[in-house]
């Protein structure tokens, strides 16, 4: 589903964020991407969503080589990828409902269909009663769940999360992770960038560890299970 082959990423100014990075995620797989800050976690996610393009190497998403995706086609690619951010990136002048509805409005869906899907997504993240509120009145955990609802509302096959639990206390972080597990269970490919090693090492999923832009360790899911106390 997600395949990196010998990917280099050098930013203007000469900073080498990724070197010779290769890994592959199968359809329906869930994995964590970890590493110190500046190791290249965010860059990996940016390459998948075509916010950045690789300096060298190939990124293939669902059989499509991203090098062949022209600028005009980028939005259509992004619609197939649900993206979750540490700082939520919600629109504060719109209600929870409107925030979650955004990807569907962009896709030109009918009003009735939007209402149905938004309520289903909000139900999934446990915010059904708060659709008329504005994001600022919600707690950090609730805002993050609005972000998750927005990412999954158009049912993308791939879900990416960049430090989704960065600002949350352990219990809330655990809840958010459980949500991701639920989506993964119904066939969504999930890749979560996180430096919260304590949390992710207790979960039975594959861990890709980056160090200075290189893949330092690729711990398969079953070993994680075995290593768990």
């Amino acid at each position: 589903m997600i395949q990196f082959s010998n990917v280099d990423k050098r930013y203007p100014g000469g900073y080498q964020a990724l070197s010779q990075l290769s890994f592959a995620l199968q359809r329906g797989e869930m994995a964590f991407l970890t590493g110190h800050s500046g190791a290249g976690k965010s860059t990996v996610l940016k390459l998948i969503t075509l916010i950045e393009r690789p300096s060298f190497g190939q990124v293939i998403i669902n059989g499509q080589n991203l090098a062949a995706v022209t600028r005009g086609r980028v939005p259509y690619l992004r619609r197939c990828i649900g993206m979750i951010f540490q700082n939520h990136k919600l629109l504060n002048d719109r209600t929870v409902f409107d925030n979650v509805a955004l990807p569907l409005v962009i896709a030109g869906m009918s009003h009735a269909e939007i209402g149905r899907r938004v309520r289903a997504a909000l139900d999934k993240v446990g915010l059904l009663g708060k659709e008329k509120l504005y994001p600022v009145v919600l707690s950090g955990g609730e805002q993050q769940r609005v972000g998750i609802a927005r990412a999954v509302v158009n049912k993308p096959p791939v879900l990416l999360a960049d430090e989704p639990t960065g600002n949350l206390d352990p219990e809330l972080a655990r809840e958010i992770m459980t949500l991701f597990e639920e989506f993964n269970r119904v066939g969504v490919t999930v890749l979560i960038a996180s430096h919260d090693l304590e949390l992710i090492s207790r979960m039975p999923y594959r861990i890709l560890a980056l160090r200075n832009g290189r893949l330092a360790a690729d711990t398969p899911a079953h070993e994680q299970l075995a290593a768990a106390p």
Partner: protein, 337 residues
């Protein structure tokens, strides 16, 4: 549960469908057309909602546009009124046809009948030789000199009033004059048309002036809208980034800003119409008094429907144009980082 279905169905189809979507876009299905109009309608209403959140600044921008549009529109209306007045005055032009001295009064009456039948002639009045002499005696003060001549040296005169079914233009009057001069019985035919030609020329100059003023003010409106939209784009930079991140096309991002410009232009056009109407209403009474002094029944004409529509349409066009300029220059540069 809603996700199981989708994940299986869409994961295979959605991404691979993307390259084919371009050709599919050409042959838009009925559903696609509906979605297209729906999105435009949404953007139209959404942008109106955005403007209504800051009514003060929206009104100010619209008022600036309105004043800029009202100036050329108002001048245009005034000019049309002066033109109408000029058309009224065309009737004042008369042609004096002096006959040759050997033509008798009876000849003059016969000729008057023929001239009356010419196209472009409203009325013909005959002034006999005796009448001409009387007038000369009264007005010139050379009566004694005429007595000394013994016989009447003055010819008969036909006073021709151009006009008729067609309201005659200076050009038609000139043609009529040529025709009258060509008649064998006529010694001299002359018309005082110079002032009319001057008025027409003056109006042409004024018209050109209004056009130039209008062009400059249109440019000003374009820049005002462009700048307003540029500021709107910059103040909503974060929002644009987020919308692009969740898969918005450039067209989707552009749309509310374009409609913003459209609304500004439309509101500006409405304000311009109101301003012109108000100014004309303020002028009505003094103009009526002035007209009464000249014993004329002149009524100040207002902004007619076609002109009002033109003002609104130019407002909308300039608003859209201005926002298009801003959007082209500033929106493409905003990409999520």
């Amino acid at each position: 549960m809603i996700f199981r279905h989708s994940a299986k169905k869409r994961s295979g189809a959605t991404l691979r469908r993307a390259p084919a979507a371009r050709s599919a876009g050409l042959a838009r299905t009925r559903g696609g057309v509906k979605a297209f109009f729906l999105q435009h309608l949404q953007a139209l209403i959404y942008s109106l909602g955005q403007l209504s959140r800051t009514p003060g600044s929206t009104l100010m921008t619209a008022a600036v546009i309105g004043i800029a549009l009202a100036l050329p529109a108002g001048l245009h209306v005034l000019l049309k009124n002066v033109e109408a007045l000029g058309a009224d005055w065309r009737g004042v032009t008369q042609i004096s046809v002096f006959l040759k001295p050997e033509q008798s009064d009876a000849d003059a009456a016969r000729l008057a009948e023929r001239v009356r039948a010419l196209p472009g002639v409203e009325t013909v009045t005959v002034r006999t030789r005796a009448e001409a002499l009387d007038e000369f005696r009264r007005l010139s003060g050379f009566g004694a000199a005429l007595e000394a001549l013994g016989e009447n040296p003055l010819p008969a005169v036909l006073v021709v009033q151009p006009g008729g079914a067609l309201q005659s233009t200076p050009r038609e009057t000139a043609q009529l004059l040529e025709r009258l001069r060509a008649l064998p019985e006529v010694e001299l035919a002359q018309a005082d048309m110079q002032w009319l030609q001057r008025l027409t020329a003056l109006l042409a100059v004024a018209q050109r002036g209004v056009l130039v003023t209008g062009a400059f003010l249109a440019l000003a409106v374009l820049l005002i809208v462009g700048n307003t939209i540029r500021l709107a784009i910059h103040s909503r930079r974060d929002e644009i980034e987020i919308i692009k991140l969740v898969g918005a096309t450039d067209a989707f991002v552009r749309r509310p800003f374009l409609y913003n410009g459209l609304w500004y232009g439309l509101f500006g056009g409405i304000i311009a119409c109101v301003l012109v109407g108000l100014s004309l209403w303020l002028l009505t009474e003094p103009v009526r008094r002035l007209s009464a002094l000249y014993a004329g029944g002149f009524e100040l004409g207002g902004l007619d429907g076609a002109s009002a529509l033109t003002v609104l349409a130019s407002g909308v066009a300039l608003g859209l144009g201005g926002s298009l300029l801003a959007v082209k220059r500033h929106l493409a540069a905003i990409e999520p980082v």
